[in-house]
């Protein structure tokens, strides 16, 4: 459902990603790894239409992103849940309102949908933080709130950028379990991380493919992990 075909991405500073070909098929679980600055975040942004390839073809749900208008990208975002590298909340709204934001912007904030949020909040363990403001949350709480917001629209695809970036080991395991749970529900999951320990921990629980960006290209990581 997200397909890269010889995709390249360059910006003023030169080519960052070259000749990327891959597919995120429905229900798959991917890790994306590589050193800091190798382009993991950039590749995820390509996946949700925040950046447009400078060469090659990228299809999201069968549509070439180069052909999509901004409204089409907005519609695609509603089917792709994103946990952004630094979460990105509206700091003046409560955690609950932030989690509900995707419903609100798509005019789906019906009473039933809002009633279900309670369940989602307890799934990520934030029931008692629902009325806090995002700046008051700890790192782990932020990541879980971002995850709750990413899945509230029941997206087909979940993209998480360093979801365990600044949380302790215990919390990273908890977040990983949530993501694996989503994958078991049939969601396509891709996690960008430079945390090899997290990948090793996941391998015993889920059938995951590990992709590595190295020298601007994407490789399938081998048994060295």
């Amino acid at each position: 459902m997200i397909e890269f075909e010889n995709v390249a991405y360059s910006y003023g500073g030169g080519e960052l990603l070259s000749d990327i070909s891959m597919q995120l098929v429905p229900g798959s679980f991917h890790f994306l790894t590589g050193p800091s600055g190798s382009g993991k975040t950039t590749l995820l942004k390509l996946c949700y239409g925040a950046l447009i390839p400078t060469a090659g073809h990228l299809r999201i749900f069968g549509e070439d992103v180069a052909m999509l208008g901004r409204d089409d990208v907005a519609m695609a975002r509603r089917k792709i849940g994103v946990v952004h590298q630094d979460c990105q909340f509206l700091d003046h709204l409560s955690v609950l309102d932030n989690v509900a934001l995707p419903l609100q912007v798509s005019d789906q904030d019906t009473a039933e949908a809002m009633a279900d949020i309670g369940e989602l909040m307890s799934w990520v363990g934030l029931t008692n933080r629902a009325h806090a403001l995002p700046p008051e949350l700890s790192g782990g709480e932020r990541q879980r709130a971002a995850l709750a917001r990413a899945v509230i629209m029941s997206p087909d695809v979940i993209l998480a950028d360093e979801p365990t970036g600044n949380v302790d080991w215990e919390m990273s395991q908890r977040l990983l379990r949530l993501l694996i749970e989503l994958n078991r529900m049939g969601k396509t999951v891709m996690i960008a991380t430079h945390d090899l320990g997290l990948i090793r921990a996941a391998k015993s629980q889920v059938q995951a493919r590990v992709l590595r960006i190295s020298n601007r290209r994407l490789q399938l990581a081998g048994a060295d992990l």
Binding site: R70, A74, L90, V105, S106
Partner: protein, 297 residues
């Protein structure tokens, strides 16, 4: 017109996605209020000029006065001659010699009630009223100078015309001021909206991340600025109307400056000012949002 519908629906949640703080909001409130205040005065000026023009053109329309100065022994003959001329002038509907009492009434404001008019050499006045077509003042003057040497035709239109032109000019001035005020309001709202959009680039990024369309994001800003402009302009209009009411009004004898108040249905007009301000803010913010959202893409 999804944005107009969202504006009217009063979606509080939608309103909240843009943080309520920031100087741009206060700037919009203040400038809308100031502009509305000025607009009320411009309107009052226009309407007063209108009224003045109406009064001058109505009250004095179709009127002229013939003034005959002559030695007492010649006066009656000259009056008779003048009446004869007027009778045969096309465009003259009627002519009437003013009685001593009427003449005294005219002079009373200047000389008091006890004026012995019979003993003074006061010119005799003849009130002339025109038909709709009017008479040819130049031609009439020529004939009078030949046949009634002591006659002076006082054609009211002669001094009425520049006054009417001045009133018309004032009215235009009022309208031009209104258009300029609207333009300045649009410019200020555009600046404020641009600043607000730029200051909230991060919020726009978050909204986009969760699938908000440009129309949705723009509507939140449009709503914010339209309502602020409406509120500010309503306050400015109210203060302006109070100020106009407090202006000394000397009634019908006054000129433009003293007749600035609103009369009767004129009171409807200033109420249009806040609506107009809201409309200006609506379109200004909409176009600013469209531009900024394109730039941020």
């Amino acid at each position: 017109m999804e944005d107009i519908r969202s504006l009217l629906r009063g979606d509080a949640a939608h309103d909240r996605i843009v943080p309520p703080t920031g100087y741009t909001v206060r700037l919009t409130l203040f400038s809308a209020a100031a502009m509305a205040f000025l607009a009320v005065f411009a309107l009052a000026l226009s309407l007063a000029a209108d009224r003045l023009a109406d009064r001058w053109s109505d009250a004095l329309a179709k009127g002229a006065t013939l003034r005959i100065s002559a030695a007492p022994e010649e006066l009656d003959a000259q009056v008779a001659a003048a009446m004869a001329v007027l009778d045969t002038t096309p465009g003259v509907a009627s002519a009437r010699v003013l009685s001593d009492d009427e003449q005294r009434a005219l002079l009373e404001p200047w000389f008091g009630p006890d004026l012995p008019i019979e003993t003074l050499r006061v010119p005799q006045l003849i009130a002339v009223s025109e038909t709709d077509e009017g008479f040819d003042a130049g031609g009439l003057r020529l004939r009078l100078s030949a046949e009634v040497p002591g006659a002076v035709l006082d054609d009211h239109a002669r001094w009425r015309k520049p006054l009417l032109a001045a009133a018309g000019g004032l009215r235009w001035l009022g309208w031009i001021a209104l258009v300029l005020i609207m333009g300045a309001t649009a410019a200020m709202v555009t600046l404020a909206a641009n600043a607000a959009l730029a200051a909230n680039a991060q919020i726009i990024a978050v909204l986009r991340l969760v699938g908000a369309t440009d129309a949705y994001i723009a509507a939140a800003f449009v709503r914010r600025f339209t309502l602020r402009a409406l509120g500010g302009a309503a306050a400015g209009t109210l203060v302006g109307m109070i100020a106009v009411t407090l202006m000394p009004d000397t009634g019908d004898t006054g000129g433009v400056l003293t007749g600035l108040g609103f009369r009767g249905f004129d009171w409807i007009w200033p109420l249009v000012v806040p609506v107009l301000a809201a409309a200006v803010a609506f379109f200004a913010t909409k176009s600013a949002a469209k531009r900024v959202l394109e730039d941020l893409a």
